[in-house]
Symmetry: C2
Subunit: 273 residues, 2 copies
């Protein structure tokens, strides 16, 4: 239980929600994790400035801030409110020194997916300019098509790259094994992501998934060849940053957080590294 975590391994806050954000940062620092991925609502409980100070004191990198996005609006007021919230997310990412702000791009407000995808693109073009002013990098996270109805109209890497290219500066992508593993065009598309990968996240796919949102699997317990996934990302995109583990699953949440950190490090060594 005292060995250090593998070099690139990072922990997303959603995997160990029982910890406060300071506990997470300090726990991950002790365990030798390379970075932490944070969530805005959890950061807010402590305060953004205070979290930034603790991260600085422990030398812990913030690999991602989750999340901006949710752009599709029911009207002009709703659209303005959503863009304001995204600007606040950018500001928080800047204070935290987060490597990237993750964008969840949906859901549509009606049955017109094409219109929703245009709306997402338009919003990202506006937000990209604001983020550039604050030196914050944005990353579109294509979600599994499972979430096309309730979360994200961006459901493939190819689509995320195309939307990201519309912005100035271009917006990058998050590559999450859970969301992308099924895609037969993943490998041929990855070279187009070279220089655009802002974050890599891992969870395994349990078959069948025990829950719509909270059914992700511990590394090695599901269907995904995670070693191949990370190897392809490394080889085809040149990404060398943190590999963040994000597992939404009540069985994982029930474990004592320091034990989870050790389990994840062991599973990473066995199934990924």
């Amino acid at each position: 239980m005292t060995e250090k975590a593998p070099a690139r391994l990072a922990m997303n806050q959603a995997t160990v929600p029982r910890w406060t954000t300071p506990e997470l940062i300090e726990g991950c620092a002790r365990a030798g994790y390379a970075a932490v991925g944070l969530w805005r609502d959890r950061v807010a409980e402590t305060g953004t400035e205070k979290v930034a100070r603790i991260a600085g004191e422990t030398g812990m990198q913030v690999s991602t801030l989750c999340r901006g996005g949710w752009f599709c609006a029911t009207g002009p007021d709703d659209r303005a409110r959503r863009m304001d919230d995204n600007r606040r997310a950018v500001d928080e990412a800047a204070v935290l020194g987060a490597a990237t702000l993750v964008l969840v791009c949906g859901p549509a407000t009606n049955k017109d997916l094409e219109q929703a995808r245009t709306e997402v693109t338009d919003a990202i073009m506006v937000l990209a300019e604001y983020a550039a002013g604050g030196n914050v990098r944005l990353a579109i996270e294509p979600l599994h098509p499972l979430y096309c109805g309730d979360r994200s109209v961006v459901v493939t890497l190819k689509q995320a790259l195309e939307i990201g290219r519309s912005a100035e500066p271009p917006v990058g992508v998050v590559l999450d094994s859970y969301h992308l593993w099924w895609d037969p065009s993943l490998e041929p598309t990855l070279p187009e992501a070279a220089g655009r990968v802002e974050s890599v996240q891992l969870a395994d796919w349990l078959a069948p998934p025990p829950d719509h949102l909270n059914g992700r699997g511990m590394l090695g317990q599901g269907s995904i060849d995670l070693r191949r996934f990370v190897r392809l990302v490394d080889e085809l995109t040149g990404y060398r940053g943190p590999i963040e583990v994000e597992i939404f699953n009540p069985d994982v949440w029930a474990i004592d957080p320091p034990v989870t950190l050790q389990l994840v490090a062991d599973a990473y060594e066995t199934h990924v590294a």
Copy 2:
């Protein structure tokens, strides 16, 4: 309750499982449905020859027989057993005069999706030759990526078309709204499906899905623009055959089958035709 169903409307047996196969055929004939999609296990309860006779007597077309496939094997014996079962499925489709035999192509037996996809392609090449001898048409059904772990390694139309082209004669596809609606490459890929569409099926996408397998929605109750889906299929592929409604959902199953037939006909008129 006495109006005739719209001209192309067909009913899949999975939508009204409380009926026996003879009851289904006779009920759909009375309601003016164009065709029925049948399932092998349900047909077996009555006997294939007897079902074929009843279909002939009522003039009811069998639009699909579900299903062959499940090709991926743990070894040579398992592979031979699975191919035997597929040959029997072809024979049954021939006896029933089914327009097509639907193939579910997976799941993988391990984490190697590429190998599983090759295995599927190889099996379909063999089965296509056998099916041609019996004048039975095969159709690969790309399933929603939600099922990549437990049902099908074929998860996009593009992929199904590519695999189908490997066979001689080429194997067609089933286009099911539930499985394909999320795909940003659906519209650009549909023209490649011209002349290859063996069946069109409809169910709506409930967001979030209430169940992994049995959470499909009545037409109009979910996220899919079904009218656009059918219009795109018609315009881009030239398909003119039956539109089959297949809804796995206990709420639908609880309805008296004749009422379901009327509800589906009404929903089709309102949301599709």
